[in-house]
């Protein structure tokens, strides 16, 4: 009966709406305010978030709603697949070219124009969830990539241990894993530390205990 996905409370959140003035989206800011958010509308330029600390009139943003019809990459000061906040596309035209662009921006949810009060809450919830998932996967992938890069170092230490203890690769790996666990490190980080300390030569790897 445990629910893993909690629905966020949006009280105190700040939303940016990147859209030209239009009656088709007028209910959006009102509904966001009902959800407890504050809202700023921008078009065509977004404020520079880096200025936010210097420029007190720019509040740090928690979620972005952007126009899918007239929007373009140049409006966003971040790469298309790396928005630093949850995003929701405001879709009017369903022209394939526009949808392709929406896909390229990797928005987590969308709202159909004309926007009504219904749907705003779900779009925000879905966008936040998608963003968190993306962040989590991105962090995992970059950690795995980092460890992958250290594979040659692991191989070097593995060879050294095999030679110095005269054991096969399974035995050597078991020994290295046991040492890494003792130090609460990944195998990769443990091996990298050995190599960086200048050990890892045939003599130095003898500090690894095998049993």
């Amino acid at each position: 009966m445990k629910r893993a996905n909690r629905i966020p409370n949006f009280r105190g959140w700040h939303a940016w709406v990147l859209h030209r003035p239009s009656a088709a989206i007028d209910p959006l800011p009102r509904q966001l305010e009902r959800l407890g958010m504050t809202v700023d509308r921008y078009w065509p330029d977004l404020p520079d978030q880096n200025d936010a600390s210097a420029n007190l009139s720019v509040k740090p943003v928690d979620i972005l709603f952007f126009d899918a019809d007239m929007g373009m990459d140049e409006q966003f000061p971040w790469p298309s697949d790396a928005a630093p906040m949850p995003t929701v596309a405001l879709i009017g035209s369903e022209a394939p070219g526009r949808l392709e662009w929406v896909l390229s921006r990797q928005s987590g949810a969308h709202l159909q124009k004309p926007v009504s009060s219904a749907g705003v809450f779900s779009s925000a919830v879905l966008a936040v969830h998608a963003f968190e998932q993306q962040q989590k996967l991105r962090a995992e992938i970059s950690e795995l990539r980092r460890r992958l890069k250290l594979r040659p170092v692991v191989a070097r230490v593995l060879m050294t241990v095999m030679r110095s203890h005269n054991i096969d690769e399974h035995g050597a790996l078991r020994a290295i894993r046991a040492e890494a666990m003792k130090k609460q490190q990944t195998i990769e980080d443990y091996c990298a530390a050995i190599v960086a300390s200048g050990r890892g030569g045939p003599g130095d790897a003898t500090t690894i205990v095998t049993n």
Binding site: N9, R34, S116
Partner: protein, 397 residues
Amino acid sequence: MGETHTNPVYRVGFLYSVTGPYRAIAQDLYDGARMALAEVNQDDRFAFRLVPEFRDPAGVPERYTDFCESLIRRDGCRHIIGTITSLARKEVLPTVEKYDALLWYPCPYEGFECSENVIYTGANPNQHILPLFEYVIPKFGRRVYLTGSNYIWGWETNRIGRELIHACDGEVLGEKYLAIDSVDIDHIIEDIKAKKPDFILNNLIGNSSYAFIRAYQKLGAEDPEFAPSKRPIVSCNLTECELSQLGAAGVGHLSTAIYFANQTETDAENTAWLDRFHAFAGPDRIPSVFVAQGYATVKMLAESIRRGGTDDVQSVRHHLMRQPVETPFGNVRIDASNNHAALTPLIGQIGAGGWFDIVSRADHAIEPDPYLVHFDADAFRRKVGQAGHGNLRVVGG
């Protein structure tokens, strides 16, 4: 009589399923509406006539949409009063929005909705389950068992119940659902017998709810551990109109509503209204919150038409929000920012003879918070802080 040949006539659509699974509730809403219509149409202050178009969808969701469409398009109604279940409300919402009509929804519900084309006059979770838990937890404890009918009201109200219980470090001992109208409750009773929760949140409706409460009475008769004074069943929508179904089985259990008929000691206006209701519906009827709401929604509509001189939706909305309207549950203000009513929650304990004894009353109207944006878990935890068993203090009746 205020009626003259020059007085305009406004047709008002009503969607109340006076047959079908929740007919008892619909009948109360319907009777409250008829009483208010009679008063408005006889009152010189209202220089117009309201002509009701009653429809009975019999609880079938698709019929709500068909009736709603024909009421607006064929009968020229700009205002639709009714729907009881959230399922039915969600059915008619697209139609009401499409024709820019106004739906007056008169029931407590699970919140998390806010349409420009709906006036929500019933209680939100921050006006029903929240005050109910604030009352129940300090008296009985924070180990709860959740039950409900298998649709959105039960799911969502139990979800909020679960969040409240988590917020005060309590424990949810079980969560069980029954199909609407199912009376297959033995497994729930067995489970409750084994787990001994401090109280049971009952979001079952209709026959399921009656069967459950009767079976729990039997359990209590076998084992005093399950007496209502020790481990009560608490509900957010059990009212006077269903107490006759329960008889003695209901006595001692708790419910929350924004109106209980039994407030004669505190409210002279209620006594006057009760007298009028008894003259209208017979001296033995005890009006539930649904009679009061059926009555109040018609009064709110009529008063807003009177203020603006038209039944135009924009005008009615504007004049409704401008100042409160007198209802059997006090002067009610609709919050212009979210179209929901500010309401004063009550807690009632089922007494003898089909009445509730009011055991707790909020000292002011609670602002509607349909998305529970302002729910403060720390404040709630402090409020229910002193866990343990106490005694119910009866202040009403």
